[in-house]
């Protein structure tokens, strides 16, 4: 009987323990980092001796052609733009979420030139918001007429699409916190990339800006983000000390954060911006170049002074002018 009771007690204890205990809820496994999407492969054309910024001459008079006829018949010019690159192209909630900025001024000028005095931006200009990685695929697919979105002209891209003449000459620079731009040499004042040694620098994943800064200062700690605005988020959270990118983009970031400054500096690279088009639409490219030439009458300068100069050149002492076009294709 004693043995039986003991057995029963053990069984009772075991059953109770088995019934009451739960395994801990597991934590999810860390997902594997996905590889960055690569840019579309463009076969670089054999154009030795051809300047990458060289575009098609607008010719005499107002260019015409089948693409322009198609756009007029459609009644709308479709332009791929950004909507979150402050000062270049971003929504203004106070103006009915209209997209505005330096790039948008060019879209309006081209639309106005195509449709003439009847041009109405709301009706005749469709601004389609795209990402950087969509620029070339959407142009080659014919979904867009033009792309005006921080588009650097280079030889490889000429293998996929066509570019207008250069409409703005940008360059890669570095944005830092105000404490690194207060003329205090002892406080690590930023002068050139060598000052980034040991500092955390952000640039978009897979961008040329990231490669350039790694080459310029190998001791800089690279902290990539999805895009430049993502870099600003990291900067405001104190996760990075500096952001690198085109001066136009950095101007937009600095305008959103009173602590962020783009100090006077030599650019790390040349970034000639062009307006992208489908390779087949040479008449449209000629027309865009015609419009750009027309903007020398003051429209380009007005756009620059309105959007970029207040941040990039607040003193107004830099002699920034519209780039001289190069033709030769």
């Amino acid at each position: 009987m004693t043995v039986a009771m003991r057995l029963a007690a053990v069984a009772l204890a075991a059953a109770l323990l088995a019934g009451c205990g739960y395994e801990d809820t597991p934590l999810p496994e860390e997902p594997e980092a996905s590889a960055a999407t690569s840019a579309p492969d463009c076969e670089t054309p054999d154009e030795s001796g051809t300047d990458p910024v060289a575009s098609y001459h607008p010719g005499e008079g107002v260019p015409t052609g089948p693409k322009l006829d198609e756009i007029r018949a459609r009644g709308r010019l479709i332009v791929g733009v950004s909507a979150d690159t402050y000062l270049m192209a971003s929504e203004n909630p106070e103006e009915g979420n209209r997209i505005e900025g330096f790039d948008i001024e060019f879209a309006k000028e081209i639309g106005s030139a195509i449709f003439g005095s009847d041009f109405n931006a709301g009706r005749n200009l469709e601004l389609r918001v795209i990402t950087a990685s969509q620029r070339i695929p959407l142009l080659t697919a014919g979904d867009l007429d033009l792309v005006i979105r921080n588009f650097t002209i280079n030889s490889q891209r000429w293998g996929c699409i066509a570019f207008s003449a250069e409409y703005y000459h940008s360059g890669q620079k570095v944005l830092v916190g105000a404490s690194l731009a207060d003329d205090d040499e002892e406080n690590g004042e930023y002068r050139d990339p060598s000052d980034l040694a040991g500092l955390r620098v952000c640039a978009p994943t897979g961008s040329t800006s990231l490669v350039n800064i790694e080459e310029a200062e190998p001791d800089a700690k690279i902290e990539p983000a999805v895009n430049h605005t993502g870099c600003l988020v990291k900067f405001q959270r104190g996760e990075v000390d500096a952001i690198t990118g085109d001066d136009t983009v950095l101007a937009g970031l600095a305008a959103q954060d009173p602590y962020a400054v783009v100090p006077d500096q030599e650019p790390l690279s040349d970034e000639p911006y062009g307006i992208g088009a489908n390779q087949e639409d040479i008449d449209l490219v000629r027309f865009v170049n015609y419009v750009l030439a027309e903007m020398r009458d003051g429209e380009w300068e007005a756009a620059y002074e309105r959007w970029l100069q207040p941040v990039l050149d607040p003193e107004g002492d830099d002699d920034v002018v519209q780039p001289t076009p190069t033709y030769g294709r």
Partner: protein
């Protein structure tokens, strides 16, 4: 019939052991005549035999009492745990839904920017703050309710805090019309889905399994088996006694057998009914509560995607497939009674998509942010509230019924233990009567 009616033969009256006969005929086994006299071979071992039978009989009924009571007690415990686990399951689903509800409000709020109607912005701000506060309260309650969830809830707490910080930064920047506000918002939403939701999915899965396992805590088969074995042992004891003494029935053992049999039948029927009830709750009310919570979660997910496509202008191709995925979950899991509410919302969503695809920004935003029936918010809120009511009603029914049924199991457990002891006493008395007859 009573064994006490016949005086036991005095041991001295036993005939002296006869000298072994050279050719003793094999003893015939026969059903003993009801005389109360020990019969058959081994008469000299009778006291030892009675002791052994008593030990076996008493042990059998005591083990029966303990084991059967234990099984019923475990059923009582299991029903309690099932109710607790069900509450925890509903709680973690509530966290999941409320978190996505907060995200749906935050993303919709971003569409109003810094230039929307101040009263509308203030109302949405308050609704968002309330949702986030509810999430933190529910996380605390869930951690107290289930220690096994503590680690996961701790990680969830961190993820939700980071999300809330990102949204606070988004709101601050959006009020200044800075595009970086949208980056904080979309980054926060994205991190919510990549960091917090997988933790919540694990919590839902773990608690679903626990609730289901606990609801299967009734064991009529084991009760029947233990009872049958015990009755079998008692019958065997009776047979041995009957063979040894000239009585067909030992009343004590017979009483014990009847007690065991009745207890077993009552306990098994009660357990079977409990099992059926739990199965019914599992298949109906609990499944309905879980499904409607899932539909509500997916609905809020879709609503957030709808706003995000407008926050990130031109991102329709990114967010619409995600909206469709969530909408399919709603259609698959939502109760038919709330599907009309959902379809009313879908009609508004389709309006938004049509406008946004053609870049008619103003009309798209108006439909997405209007709080009256012309916008998507009101029909969505109708769906959300209807789904919430179904979740509340069905989960309450489940836990109430689980708790109501368990009292019977506890009473049954105590009674079985007492009846087991009573049966043991009956066996002792029954065999004691034979011992007295023998002595």
């Amino acid at each position: 019939m009573s064994q006490s009616a016949t005086a036991p033969p005095p041991p001295a009256a036993q005939p002296a052991p006869a000298p072994p006969a050279p050719a003793a005929p094999p003893k015939k086994r026969f059903w003993p005549a009801p005389t109360g006299k020990p019969v058959g071979a081994g008469v000299e071992d009778t006291p030892g035999l009675l002791n052994r039978l008593q030990v076996i009989g008493v042990a059998a009924v005591l083990i029966f009492g303990l084991a059967s009571a234990l099984i019923q007690y475990l059923s009582f415990e299991a029903d309690g745990r099932a109710a607790d686990d069900t509450e925890q399951l509903v709680r973690v689903q509530e966290i999941q839904t409320t978190l996505l509800r907060a995200d749906a409000i935050a993303t919709n709020l971003a569409l109003l920017g810094g230039s929307g109607d101040p009263q509308q912005i203030a109302d949405r701000d308050a609704a968002y703050d309330e949702a986030i506060a509810d999430v933190f309260t529910l996380i605390t309650q869930a951690a107290e309710a289930q220690p096994a969830d503590e680690e996961a809830l701790s990680a969830l707490n961190v993820a939700v805090s980071e999300y809330a910080t990102a949204i606070a930064e988004a709101r601050s920047n959006l009020r200044q019309n800075f595009p970086v506000g949208k980056e904080y918002l979309s980054g926060g939403s994205s991190a919510l889905r990549s960091d917090a939701l997988p933790i919540l999915e694990n919590l839902v899965t773990a608690n679903s399994e626990r609730a289901e396992e606990s609801m299967n805590g009734q064991h009529p088969f084991w009760l029947l088996l233990i009872g049958a074995v015990t009755v079998g042992v008692l019958i065997w004891v009776s047979l041995v006694l009957a063979q040894r003494f000239r009585r067909y029935v030992n009343v004590g053992v017979a009483v014990a057998a009847v007690l065991v049999l009745v207890t077993t039948l009552v306990a098994a029927v009660a357990a079977w009914r409990g099992d059926s009830q739990n199965e019914g709750l599992l298949d109906d009310e609990l499944t309905k509560a879980v499904d409607q919570a899932e539909a509500r979660t997916a609905g809020n997910d879709a609503k957030a995607y709808e706003s995000l496509r407008l926050v990130k202008r031109g991102s329709g191709t990114t967010y619409e497939p995600l909206w469709q995925e969530s909408a399919e979950v709603v259609v698959d899991t939502a109760d038919t009674s709330i599907l009309p509410d959902w379809e009313a919302y879908v009609a508004r969503h389709n309006q938004i998509v049509r406008n946004d695809d053609q870049d008619f920004r103003g009309p798209a935003l108006r439909v997405a942010t209007a709080d009256d029936a012309s916008g998507s918010n009101q029909p969505f809120t109708d769906f959300d509230e209807a789904a919430q009511k179904l979740v509340d009603d069905n989960s309450e029914t489940t836990t109430d019924e689980l708790r109501a049924g368990r009292a019977a199991a506890l009473v049954g457990s105590i009674l079985t233990l007492l009846l087991g002891l009573l049966a043991a006493v009956a066996v002792v008395r029954g065999i004691g009567a034979r011992r007295r007859e023998y002595s």
